[in-house]
Symmetry: C2
Subunit: 203 residues, 2 copies
DNA sequence: CTTCTAATGGTCCTAGAGTTCCGTTAAGAA
DNA sequence: TTCTTAACGGAACTCTAGGACCATTAGAAG
């Protein structure tokens, strides 16, 4: 009954297939950063990647499908986490990292486009949530450490603290339109650290 | 030289023209809430509104153009502001209002779509920024009042406090994927109030 | 009321995104 | 190495979003 048909690229993932995927995902990232989500054309992506457009349509099918795969790829490489010894120091480092990413001429538009794509497609949304869940978990230990140091109350939800740092910066990027500058990053970190110390993030 | 050509609908804004605009904007809102930004088809909007598609293309031209007009319309009607007598009370009321909007089956998807549209088009982005600037200014007085009561430090930036309340909720809606529930609203309000008291939002 | 024309709304047309077909290339197995 | 077939890529096709054209309707002014 069941017409077993594995997804293209899974049976022979070596050599050529891997090169194609890498080239297409790179081209997709470039196009997203430059033109945005809605102006994306899979044929244009194929041209940039030096790949037949049939291949792109066959393996990824739709724009959201391609973006979801890009997010899966991006979720794999993690970023360095700093340990300054104080919650405020750690959160400030985190906020500044987010700030520099979102204000980067390539990364800023790219993340904006990724979030846009996720808002339009459930599959992409799931990939985005996974991406940020991983990022959040990578940062969580600095909050746990603060709990162990007695700097903030036991029962504080680490992920809530981490998200509280990023949220104002993404709000500026997506909604307010204000520049995501160093001052706003430091303010976000300070507000989150202060609220955490006062026990605002306890379950 | 200059071929003066006023925008369609500005010379004879009475009767029919106004009815068409109303019907189209309503249909656009419905379609955005149901299908999302990327699946929007101006011909479909015209059909829903009981209007010729030529009219829609002539007056609004593109999907972002239509969304921008919808945002301009939405910016005009304001919402009631509560005065509870304490900063935490006021911010909690605000957070719960945002929460109920974002978790509403129609409003939630609609706002998601509006923000998505703004991320794709500068004109729409400008309209969105205006919309939220107005909303923020409507809420700002409760922070000013808290300053006058001596509840929070002078020099506190009211708009930053207001945005700090909303930001975590929008983060959940757009990025984290977690439900925008009552608990998260109360937590956002508490965190913002606490941080404000500690002077985290002073310029 | 009559006149003028802005604005509407059918109908037809065009460009390009997405699909299908089929021959070619190369990954993986023996 | 050879063999099998997964995966690629060019070319031709389809289908529809968006635009052009023009006849019709109805505000606004006198």
């Amino acid at each position: 009954m069941s017409d077993e048909r594995p997804d293209p690229g899974t049976v022979r993932p070596g050599g050529r297939t891997a090169k194609v995927r890498e080239a297409v995902l790179r081209a997709a990232g470039d196009a997203l950063a430059e033109d945005g989500f809605d102006r994306l054309d899979l044929a244009e992506i194929a041209r940039r990647a030096g790949v037949g457009k049939t291949t792109v349509y066959r393996r990824w099918g739709t724009v959201p499908g391609l973006v979801a795969d890009l997010l899966t790829e991006m979720a794999e490489d993690s970023l360095p986490r700093s340990e300054t010894g104080s919650l405020l120091g750690d959160l400030t480092a985190q906020a500044r990292l987010v700030q520099s990413t979102l204000s980067d001429p390539r990364q800023g538009p790219l993340f904006k486009a990724l979030i846009t794509a996720a808002a339009c497609d459930p599959q992409t949304a799931e990939a985005l949530h996974r991406f940020y869940r991983i990022r959040t978990e990578e940062w969580a230990p600095c909050v746990t450490a603060a709990i162990e140091r007695g700097e903030i109350p036991a029962g504080t939800d680490p992920t809530e603290v981490i998200r509280a740092v990023s949220a104002p910066l993404y709000y500026r990027l997506l909604i307010g339109g204000d520049p995501v500058d160093r001052a706003s990053a430091d303010r976000a970190a300070k507000a989150a650290a202060t609220a955490a110390r006062a026990g605002a993030f306890t379950a």
